[in-house]
Symmetry: C2
Subunit: 452 residues, 2 copies
């Protein structure tokens, strides 16, 4: 069973509810929407991601004989018969990946027969939540350092294999330059970057020998890690080495700093390299970086050309989860509303309209019912799958990344900063409010009748 | 390519360094150790986990033709030839899973030819880091609520598929009762638990109908979710339903609360159930829970029998990463030491000795060289793999869990609380200190010679 594709990557209750739906003939059309309840602390916006993985998951969803055998030990034969034939044949509407969005705006809508729409809940949340989390985090570094090389270094402390891969994808989608994770490069066609490890230096008796061995093995991609013992001393060794390698036409393309005061070391090292004639040798920095440290380094005019960002990116360290939910908004043609304390939802199938100011900046969003009188503005939610079939050819990750970078250009300036900006206006349409009120009244009436 | 087993789940530099090692004939034995640099804020100890996944990864590590084809587009033929034959044939020493440990204590040691030991670095960290993170977090809830049913509910907001599965494994290892994630139950033989979703209630016009339909489908496992509209009103409906179902010999085993003031609702609902004669019907609570909220609920004597813990557990929300490292400690028989600012390591192959007080409580750990004069105490690091072969039959997860629960009994009382306890004494042996000093002196001397 491949953990990434198995339909058993679900909560037990999804199967128990499925059984009851089948036994009660509750196979009418259900509409679920995925949305985030509130912004993570200190954030100005979020970036939608993960849709492609959801489409692929639903396109290929079926139960293997092995999985059915296991389920047969717990569920009655009629459930197994149903699952043998299981194919997702519902619809997906969503914001395209890379869309900037806000709380209470649905980013994904699943329209399918109830047992189907319910069964896929947890994996859909799992995929959309994580990629959206990482894209939203990565966007901040991209906006802070738009002209720098930004590389995802985080796989080792990402939460498992898939997190490492999807973090590479989501950060590239959000504007990063590439990743160090080889498998992510091969699966998603993301540019790969890499330097060397401290262990490589330590395994040599002599740091200069380590530098020379590496340069001779990789004459076209020589980035030397110079902080294992004494950073400035190592920079001098690099200058000497570069002179010796000139005859063999090998250039030292860059050096990497990974510890200490990066701004201070970068200035010292830049001077040593320049005085040694290595003006073309770039400086790459890593080591517990995030968007705040990038901002500090750039404000200090640290002469750093690129950054490797690891743990803080791949686990979205300041906000490692989003308060998101996948909720039933309509069943059998009737809108539904959850009223649980602090967790009430907006019912019905919704569209989000975005209005822009004259200067092209985003000005206001309106969350409305889909069949509301059409509102002014750009419709953010589009159809992606109908009756289980993908509607558009798959876009390359590069194309999605380009569109995301264009989307950033419509952000009001204050929202591109790391500091919290004034809240962006998101309005609930009057028809949607009226529908929610009406449902609450009906519920009250119904409860009164029932308690008589 | 299966993301969980592919050797391409590595950083690019692991392959570039491998190339240089091969070209320089640097295939001597390397010793790497994995350790955590410091405790997460507010924590008193950590729990080692993930070793079984590391052993499985190394046992099965090989390159598929597809993976080799991709590598051949970037690396010279001699590297591909080497990788075609690649098998891990090194040794693993480690603390058994479930061992309580502290900063600077190695929890895993890899002894292998340098190109092998280097190539597996990132995935080994990725596995050990995450499971250790989750086991260390889960242990806190287990110690706060040792007599309660604790269920992992976190897959949907875990960071990807593997995180959901390994969080279920690590939390069960640390003493949880089970998980809601079906695939984790099947892969790791973990007890499965589940109730129902709000959407199930919402899809019915009438809450009582939803309860009855579910109970009739699952007469032996009826846990009803009662907070969709009005918790106390729903509890009364449960009492009425239970009376009607008595003739059919169906019992309502439990109810679940998922929102609002859980202590208050639990007290009200307990009273309603008891007055209705449902003394056996248990109360299960969920909704943004963590060990602190468990502590508060138990201190308030909330009559809750079990808890579903989700996001806070699966992402270790207060400390979503550990500051861990996999560092070269010896190469070609010679100890090695990294001196980078703030990141210096203790060199050599190490053992950790644990001493106990007369009452059986852990009293002190000593980090020593393996070939140091043997220290007094229990040796925590044991051999698990030799020359690529597993040394012991695989233990079941249940056996590992039982041992972990025994380990907790040796914690000094203050360390079992949520509040920070006085630091646990971890001593570096004098021979290890002397070796580190000696290496620093040699390095200094070497640098002076080199700069002459």
């Amino acid at each position: 069973m491949n953990p990434s594709t198995s339909p058993l990557l679900a909560d037990l209750y999804q199967f128990t509810m499925l059984q009851t739906y089948l036994e009660q003939d509750m196979e009418e059309t259900a509409v679920f929407e995925l949305f985030v309840r509130k912004l993570p602390p200190g954030r100005n916006f979020m970036v939608a991601a993960g849709l492609e993985q959801v489409i692929e998951f639903l396109e290929n969803l079926r139960f293997s004989p092995e999985e059915l055998d296991w389920l047969a030990t717990r569920f009655p034969p009629h459930v197994i018969t149903y699952l043998e034939q299981f194919r997702f044949d519902g619809d997906i509407h969503a914001m395209p990946e890379g869309t900037i969005f806000f709380p209470n705006e649905p980013i994904l809508r699943i329209t399918a027969k109830m047992p189907q729409a319910q069964l896929v809940e947890s994996r859909i949340i799992n995929l959309m939540h994580f990629e959206t989390l990482i894209a939203s985090k990565a966007a901040r570094s991209v906006l802070v350092a738009p002209d720098k090389l930004l590389v995802d270094f985080g796989m080792r402390r990402a939460h498992g294999a898939e997190a490492g891969l999807l973090a590479a994808r989501a950060s590239y989608l959000a504007g990063f330059s590439g990743t160090a994770t080889v498998l992510a490069g091969t699966l998603f066609d993301i540019p790969l970057f890499g330097t060397m490890a401290h262990s490589f230096i330590q395994a040599h008796q002599n740091e200069s020998d380590a530098f020379e061995h590496f340069a001779r093995s990789h004459p076209n991609n020589t980035v030397l890690l110079i902080d294992t013992y004494d950073t400035e001393a190592a920079a001098h060794k690099v200058v000497t080495l570069a002179r010796n390698l000139k005859a063999d036409k090998i250039n030292i393309q860059g050096i990497r700093l990974d510890s200490g005061d990066l701004a201070e070391h970068a200035k010292n090292v830049r001077q040593i390299l320049d005085e040694g004639g290595l003006h073309q040798t770039t400086i790459f920095a890593s080591g517990n970086l995030d968007e705040y440290k990038l901002h500090t380094l750039l404000s200090a005019h640290a002469p750093i050309d690129g950054f490797g960002i690891g743990t803080a990116l791949d686990i979205s360290i300041d906000a490692p989860s989003l308060d998101c939910a996948y909720k039933l908004q309509e069943y059998a043609g009737k809108p539904r509303r959850k009223r649980s304390e602090g967790k009430a939802t907006w019912p019905g199938r919704k569209q989000v309209y975005r209005q822009y100011a004259d200067d092209g900046c985003m000005a206001r969003d309106i969350v409305a019912l889909e069949d509301d009188n059409p509102q002014q503005g750009e419709s953010l939610i589009q159809p992606f799958m109908r009756s289980g079939k993908r509607l558009h050819p798959k876009l390359s990750l590069q194309e999605l990344r380009s569109q995301t970078l264009i989307n950033y250009q419509h952000l009001p300036a204050a929202m591109t900063a790391l500091d919290p900006a004034p809240g962006y206006p998101v309005t609930i349409s009057s028809a949607l409010r009226a529908m929610a009120d009406q449902l609450d009244k009906e519920r009250l009436l119904h409860d009164r009748e029932a308690s008589k």
